[in-house]
């Protein structure tokens, strides 16, 4: 379990980093937190010829709220997302989700950009990004562009990032009035890749009826998997148990496509997804209703 030989470079600046990417493309693999890449290299499943270490570029790690968005630099660590009070205040869903991502040691090293760009369909943060409508800022020597979350994740370990690009920043919309969020997952052990998991987001109108809803699943296909029809079934509803049950049933049985794995068959994943959807929607509606109260 030793990696194959590779070159290693610490770029002097963002520009230098982009030059390297321009020159080497996919062969220059950014080393962010290394929590997925290094094991893959040790198993020799990944054999990049050049590692570009992003850990020494302080300008890549930051977060702040601006223009109604939580803006996060690519090298911000998961632990920062978990513990920074700005995150909890403005995007509570992230603060609720991050503790489910692996373990403290991994969250201390693991980076936001690395996690998202790895595009593991079992990963939590991509699901949050899709559910909230996050945007991704990709940059290369020839310019930059913004990619909406639903266009960023193309499949297992595949994103729309071009070989010369790196992910520089991700922005999440901050919490909205009368909107409730919830994350729920079931893993064999805390911190494992979950057998099933869901993010629910519901917004209510002034009458307390749902006017927008999102249900997005992890480990339910090749990438974060939205259940659009099930979410639409909630529109106009106040979150009655019957409506939640129907949406959960439809999402888990008709819309998601879990593959099954060593720990859970497809049937069990659907069963879990249904249960988690009910739980998450119930919580999301409760929170949305609570949001009628003024913000603290």
């Amino acid at each position: 379990m030793k990696p194959a030989a590779f070159e290693y470079i610490i770029p002097e600046s963002l520009d230098h980093l982009l030059q390297i990417k321009a020159e080497h493309g996919d062969e220059a693999k950014p080393l962010a937190g290394g929590q997925s890449l290094i094991p893959a290299m040790n198993f020799r499943m990944a054999r990049p010829s050049l590692l570009v270490d992003l850990n020494r570029l302080p300008e890549l790690a930051w977060l702040h709220v601006k223009d109604g968005e939580l803006q996060v630099g690519t090298m911000t660590r998961m632990a920062e997302l978990q513990h920074n009070p700005t995150v909890a205040a403005h995007v509570p869903l992230i603060a609720e989700t991050v503790p489910h991502i692996a373990h403290p040691q991994i969250r201390n090293r693991g980076s936001v950009g690395g996690n998202l760009a790895h595009a593991d369909p079992a990963s939590e943060l991509p699901v949050v990004a899709v559910a909230l409508g996050a945007r991704f800022r990709a940059i290369s020597a020839s310019g930059e562009r913004w990619i909406p979350a639903h266009e960023f994740f193309l499949g297992t370990f595949t994103t729309s990032l071009q070989p010369q690009e790196i992910l520089l920043e991700v922005t999440f919309p901050t919490r909205q009035d009368r909107t409730g969020y919830a994350f729920a997952e079931v893993a064999r052990r805390h911190g494992d890749y979950a057998m099933a998991g869901v993010v629910a987001v519901v917004s209510l109108n002034a009458q307390g009826q749902c006017d927008s809803a999102q249900l997005v699943y992890l480990n339910a296909g090749d990438s974060p998997t939205p259940a659009v029809t099930a979410a639409a079934m909630l529109i106009g509803n106040s979150g009655t148990p019957a409506a939640i049950t129907a949406a959960a049933q439809h999402a888990s049985m008709e819309e998601i496509a879990p593959y099954g794995n060593l720990h859970a068959s497809t049937e069990f994943q659907r069963h879990l997804a249904r249960h988690l959807t009910q739980q998450a929607l119930k919580t999301a509606f409760e929170r949305a209703r609570a949001e009628f109260l003024p913000h603290p």
Partner: protein, 778 residues
Amino acid sequence: MSTYFGKRIPRNEDPRLLTGQALFVDDVQLPDLAHVAFYRSPYAHARILSIDVSAALARPGVIGCYTAQDLGDYWSPGPLLVSPPPTIERKIFHQRTQVPLAKDKVRHVGEPVVMVVAESRYIAEDALDDIWVDFEPLGVVVDLEQALQTDAPLIHEDLPSNMGAQVIQEKGNYETAKAQAAVIIARRIVYDRGPSVAMENRGVVAQWDSRTQRLTVWDSTQAPVFIRGGLAAMLGLSESQVRVVAPFIGGGFGPKIMMFYPEEVLLPWLAIRLKRPVKWIEDRQENFYATTQERSQIHHCELALTQDGKILGLRDEFLHDGGAYMPYGLTVPLNSQANSLGGYIIPNYYSEFKAVFTNRTIVTPYRGAGRQHGTFVIERLLDHAARELGIDKAEIRRRNFIQPEQFPFNNEIIFQDFAPLMFDSGNYEPVLDKALEMIEYERFYREIQPQARAEGRKLGLGVVFYIEGTGIGPYEGARVQVEASGKVSVATGIGTQGQGHFTSFAQIVADQVGVRPQDVMMVTGDTDQFHWGAGTFASRGAVVAGNAIHAAAQDVRQKILHHAGEVLEAAPDALEIVAGQVRVQSDPTRSISLGKLAQRANPMRGAVEPGTVPGLESTNYFGPRYGATAFGAHAMIVEVDEATLQLKIHKYVVVHDCGKVINPLILDGQIHGGVAQGIGNAFYEQLHMDENGQLLNASFMDFLIPTALDVPHLEMAHTETPSPLNPLGVKGAGEAGAIPVGALFAQALEDALGLEINEIPISPQKLFELTATAEALA
């Protein structure tokens, strides 16, 4: 006279271990060290047509590549470690043991084919990619039952079938008993295999010193003395030319008693050939294939009982997965046979097993060593019987217990040590009663479970009983010496893998010699220090080595008192040893230190009496007639989330009896560790293998071991029924924690969910399937 024996003393070795100062094999750094990696078979079963290592040899930094051909006469199948008991008449056994490097064919994934040595492990692993082996894949046997079908591919083609062994043990007449029974409980029971997952993988460092003509081997083995003898014989060296050191080892659990692993044979050979020290450290991925595993048995068993729940007889026919080779003989299935008797009077018994070759990693004992399986069989059958007969599950056990006055109890079958399975001592009911009291058995069924059910919560209680055969022979030895400093050095042949030997053995010596345990310097597992003994296995360290150390320490005490008597002009029995001083009991001002006595016993000038043996030193040995049988009960209350099928253990109780306890703190640690492994075995750990014999989860990402979050707080109590078989009255405790956990989980989950569970491991997925089946039937 026990100042220290029985006391909760912190461990002498912990400062070294906790500050990273202890020596493990991988800590051995030597000048000019070269590094070894192995090309291992990617196939479970294939013929080797050709091997091309030329590209690997051409890689800069590669020192050499070796195939079976290159080993010449040194290539030989390993020894049979434990022959089948000669005392068992009805048996068949086909000896097929592992080879250092596969020659004509590979029989499991991970079997070593080529050894590469290079300037670094990185280069060695790079070179593995350069090796080309032309394999002709053969049909693969992974399923135990399919292995015995007539059209199954043959793993050892010179045998008529994949059956490696068959043993029948019988007492009374089961069929007669069955005819008289009011009820017959028959089930198919499956207990799957698992790896032991020691924190430290295996490792070997070998160094040949041309000037002293000596070979030193640092080896993560549990049996350094036998490794030394074997290596000397294989390499044509005198035993005195070979030193084997088993330093601190991060967990043994049984697979490290296996010998000879290919790497243990090859590294010393290579060091001599290269005249360079060489190192191989097993990585975690290799460990999943290359370190022996245990389990996989399928039992067809039945229990015949009277209407009031008395056992009339047990019949058990089972298949045992031996893996690709069976170097460890029949120890594991024989333990299963023994433990299927439980602690119960079973007058009629028929047990037949077939040990089967499969294209899987070799099976040798791992903590519990087949005892789990037997325990699972009898405890499950009793649970089903209790339900069918309408008898309380604790009560049915009570009705069948061997009674205190029946010990020593002869089970009339043969145990793994070739001797009749005798239980030396026991008093079972108090242990069960204590467990029931601690788990609040009556209150649970009167209040807690009904109330939980009313709230829609699924709570279940399990309570199971087990025995643990421990402390078997043949023997161990030790040398105890009081040094001129007044401190005491002790050497024993067994290795240490975390059991606390540096403390518990020191306590035994300290009491005899009159020093503090901190003043006793233990050496374990260094053949230059002590070269007799068998090793650390079968929960025998405390029993066998402990009593040998005790015997040697008693001798030294006599020598101390004799010498001191001369100096102090007092009768030896008028003396006492306190805090390193020997003094006259009636006049403590007349005293002499142990250090001075040690110097006096080793004079530098002057004449001594003929026949004088120098020093305050003794070497002594201990070998029990047969093993000491520990026993206990585990009880648990578990809650199952009906939707997610995740568990929460509300309470876990262990009541245990291993005779006299040397150090309760260390004993607690042993039990904790065992229960944690048992929980892993019962609910988390499963090797998923496809039909081609490929392991699908050879990493900790998908092979789940319980973490600190998954192991509950344990409430523990002990009773003490001393063993009459050894002077210290001790019994082993190394495996107790792990043995009954599968049976406990099955019973508690059944109680919670109203299902029937006859297999281990269980998982949420498995519970989901069982629930679906139960719903479909309902």
